[in-house]
Amino acid sequence: MKDFLNVALPKGRLGEKVYAMFEKAGFPCPSIKENNRKLIFENAQVGVRYFWVKPSDVAIYVERGAADIGVAGKDILLEYKPDVYELLDLKMGKCNMAVAGKQDFKDDRKKTLTVATKFTNIAKEYYASQGRDIDIIHLNGSIELAPILGLSDVIVDIVETGATLKENKLVVIEKFKDISARLIANKANFKFKSQMIEKVKSSLKEQVETND
């Protein structure tokens, strides 16, 4: 029996773009384009199976081997540090990890800084490298609200265009990490499907380079 290559794609626009790249790489799966609520699609002829998962879950599927490869944002990789191979920077979904605050924010180093964020580990690591004493408030969304309501002094979040910040009268204080989508692979499954994975990687790499 031929082995399937299991690919976890992030639901949404980025995932659709990534699928197009996989299709070009010789792993098409026409049924994926049908407009329905199915989450899993396979093409037995070329031996590929795609599934749509929540973008922040891709790394988990890959780390635990349910998917052989997947596409995940660098933010997720930095936050959860999954034990996976990071094979390629797809240079898509580019944004920055940044500190933002109210326009009149000034860091008072006499006080503990309160930071609201979805990315607890990233924020901790960043401020530890600065030697800054902080308190973290973990939020799951609408992070921008925190400084406005006085819940926190600043936020650590991904910033793409900065439009949301602007509309809420917040400003970027510092961008400290470039974020983009990465091709990741499960370390064990890589050994058993290395030919297929290498094929995907080299074709995606070519496509990234021509787009660049």
Binding site: G65, D89, K187
Partner: protein, 369 residues
């Protein structure tokens, strides 16, 4: 004997089969107590896979720990090695924090350690035993081998800080070629070394192919020797007919604070993490005050539970159902009759919920069903 084998789970089977294998090669079993003084682990925290250790205070006030690791205890017990090599194997439970639940877990570990004057033969033997261990678990396996000597020869020649060196190694472990090239640019690493490191990050595959490719590279002298050492060992394993599933992969980095030289990781199809991990750990020996060398590996049996077991259709073959009024002799006769076919019998007065059985002998109605 056959019957006993039937009773075992796949991981239990592996334990006994591996123990037999190591015994056949003259390794003696090392049995240790469940506890060690906490001191031992604090001093060597970096060697441990997880930071947390279960501790408790002994009756004499000493802080003790439930062992998270076996290797350290074996080194401690072998403080004064004379000439030759001491070969031991172990089969112990260790206590570690699992990444998912962040709670302590008991993990069954089987492994072996060689300590003393490690020579090329010993390294080859340990690698051979690693291959044979994997083979006994599943025929669909891969052993990835690397020689840290190659990587350290390159990184030592770079003029970078220890933290950058560590960063490069962890990027190598991720096969993150772009990350390496980025950090090399940032640290002004010369172009040739940067290219070499990038190349090592994605070189992967059948041992001979990779080694031949390595030989064409412009490696520093020390790295060349390390490649040569790797080549000699794999050549010998090939001669013995065991090289088919061996790949060379420099993403096997383990912890370079302790490991040096040959390191390896074993994988089995269907299990998403490495099931076998080991290497030469002379640096750990030095740190613990020994001048000798060492090599060893451990097999993590908890992951084997993921291997598919043959599904049994029935929990029990025959169920004998009796009531308080059934005569004792009738129950026993029914049991013996069912046992004649050498099958499992469950004797109950109420059939448990969701029990799957092949036949029911109902004695409650005064007759056989």
């Amino acid at each position: 004997m056959q019957d006993l084998y039937k009773v075992l789970n796949s991981d239990e089977r592996a334990v006994y089969s591996l123990r037999a294998l190591y015994k056949d090669y003259g390794y003696t079993q090392y049995k240790m107590s469940k506890f060690e003084e906490y001191d031992l682990y604090v001093k060597n925290k970096e060697f441990l896979v997880s930071d947390s250790v279960i501790t408790f205070t002994d009756t004499d006030g000493k802080l003790m720990a439930l062992k998270p690791d076996v290797t350290l205890s074996i080194i401690k017990s072998n403080k004064d090695l004379s000439g030759g090599v001491k070969k031991v194997f172990y089969n112990e439970n260790v206590y570690r924090v699992s990444k998912g639940t962040k709670a302590f877990k008991e993990i069954m570990q089987v492994g072996l350690e060689c300590q003393g004057d490690i020579d090329e033969y010993t390294v080859t033997e340990v690698l051979l035993l690693a291959v044979k261990s994997l083979q006994r678990i599943s025929l669909d396996f891969v052993l990835d081998v690397s020689n840290l000597g190659v990587i350290s020869a390159i990184t030592e020649s770079l003029n970078v800080s220890e933290s950058v060196r560590k960063k490069i190694l962890s990027l190598l472990g991720e096969k993150n070629t772009e990350g390496i090239s980025y950090i090399c640019k940032q640290e002004n690493v010369d172009k040739d070394s940067a290219e070499l490191l990038c190349k090592l990050s994605y070189l992967y595959g059948e041992s001979e192919k990779v080694i031949n490719e390595l030989k064409t590279l412009n490696l520093p002298q020390k790295a060349k020797q390390a490649v040569e050492q790797l080549y000699e060992i794999i050549k010998e394993l090939k001669r013995l007919g065991y090289a088919d599933n061996i790949n060379v992969d420099f993403s096997v980095v383990n912890d370079t604070g302790y490991y040096n030289g040959i390191v390896f990781k074993g994988f089995i199809k269907g299990i998403p993490t490495a099931v076998l991990s080991g290497g030469e750990y002379d640096l750990l020996m030095q740190k613990m005050g020994s001048k000798k060398c060492a090599i060893g590996f451990a097999v993590y049996l908890d992951s084997l539970k993921k291997l598919e077991e043959e599904k049994e259709d029935y929990d029990v073959n025959t169920v004998v159902l009796y009531s308080q009024s059934t005569p004792l002799c009738e129950i026993n006769d029914a049991v013996f009759k069912a046992k004649k076919d050498d099958d499992s019998v469950l004797v109950v007065s109420v059939v448990p919920d969701k029990l799957r059985y092949r036949q029911l002998v109902d004695l409650t109605k005064g007759g056989k069903a």
